[in-house]
């Protein structure tokens, strides 16, 4: 049962959406409204695992912190012994193995964390990996975890993902998916874009505002033309 409880904890976490584009990976997280006196900058849901790997998580923040630290040590240890950067598959497998080992021992409880790892293969193709509290890991083209309505967001992604998304289209898709569960506004989300060989890019609030405004305008126009179409029919 412990694993199910852990998965429940993930569902109650804030939403994370990951989209794999043709040559980039986009991770978007919901930034829950902070209390008045809290410093919003200290809440980090997207973290660097290594120079070329980024991780975003949903679920218990404390569990995630421990898991990410273990993963970082493993990444550097791999670099020390193999003189090479760890592949994203290796890191995902390591994190999943750690999560699984806590489900089969006495006296411990599973990590209440699902994580999405973005990175690139040695052949420069983008990868998005998902791990869950049970310790399974898998690669996805697009996925959503946490948030009020995980299923709805996942269905939205399934309907709209195509294999040839350019960077800006991937970003739009991520934000659209997030907007399904998040209140509109750039303050409520954080979007990070990874491209092979380049530094990971965090979208600024201004950039987010522009894209969100554009998406909402599009949705408004779509609604209006729908209304006109139904009005004409009657």
């Amino acid at each position: 049962f412990q694993v199910e409880y852990a998965m429940e904890a993930v569902k109650r976490g804030s939403a994370v959406v990951g989209v794999r584009g043709a040559d980039c990976v986009v991770l978007g997280v919901e930034r829950k409204a902070v209390a008045q006196l809290q410093d919003a900058r200290t809440i980090r849901k997207i973290c660097k695992l290594d120079d070329h790997l980024t991780i975003a998580f949903a679920g218990f923040t404390a569990d995630a912190r421990v898991l990410i630290e273990k993963a970082r040590i493993e990444a550097q240890s791999y670099r020390l012994t193999c003189e090479d950067a760890p592949s994203i598959d290796y890191m995902a497998r390591h994190i999943a193995k750690t999560q699984q080992s806590y489900t089969q021992r006495g006296g411990v409880r599973p990590f209440g964390v699902s994580s999405m790892i973005s990175g690139f293969n040695s052949d420069k193709s983008p990868q998005l990996y998902l791990t869950d509290p049970a310790g399974t890991y898998s690669a996805w083209k697009a996925h959503a975890i946490g948030g009020r309505n995980e299923k709805a967001v996942q269905e939205f992604l399934e309907k709209n993902w195509t294999a040839t998304l350019a960077e800006d289209e991937s970003i739009r898709l991520t934000i659209k998916a997030l907007l399904e569960v998040v209140d509109s506004g750039s303050k409520n989300m954080e979007v990070v874009v990874s491209r092979c060989g380049e530094k990971v890019r965090n979208l600024t609030e201004e950039e987010l505002e522009v894209i969100i405004a554009d998406i909402e305008r599009e949705q408004e126009e779509a609604k209006k033309s729908n209304q006109e179409a139904t009005a004409m029919e009657t």
Partner: protein, 179 residues
Amino acid sequence: MDSVFGLVGDGFAIIAADASAARSILVFKHDEDKIMELDSHKLLVSAGTPADCATFNEYIQRNLKLYELNNDVSLGTHGAAHFIRGELATALRKGPYQANLLLAGHDAQTGVALYQMDYMAALSKVNFGAHGYAAAFILSVFDRDWVKGMNVEQSLDVVRKCIHELKTRFLISQPVFIL
């Protein structure tokens, strides 16, 4: 025996290391880069047993990278120097690393700094330093010619003098230096 030396100028530091990899009477290569980049603003070079130097350098590089990832900020030169010294000291009574180091770094708070450490985990912040047999020759050149606040050209002149001194007086021929 490796020759390694460095000095501090006006807002910068220069580190030079000979580029010969040798064992007893045989020289393997003349383009061995012994200077390791710890991060964008720190350089570490070590002299001594080649295996220990390489292992220790890589170990330090990985641990400092881990610190940077975990804490979102690079450790300052002062902090890094003391961390390295701590590692040397811990290993001292188990199986000491036979590595003598020079650490040069720049950070926003204290500017440029050069630290000299030896395999016994002695640490000192210096304006110029050298390790190995070469130290006997180079330190006297530095004593005579180093002034505070030299610019790049003047510093390179002093470095050239050091290399010339080694070529003239040092028994072992080390034709190539990497800065």
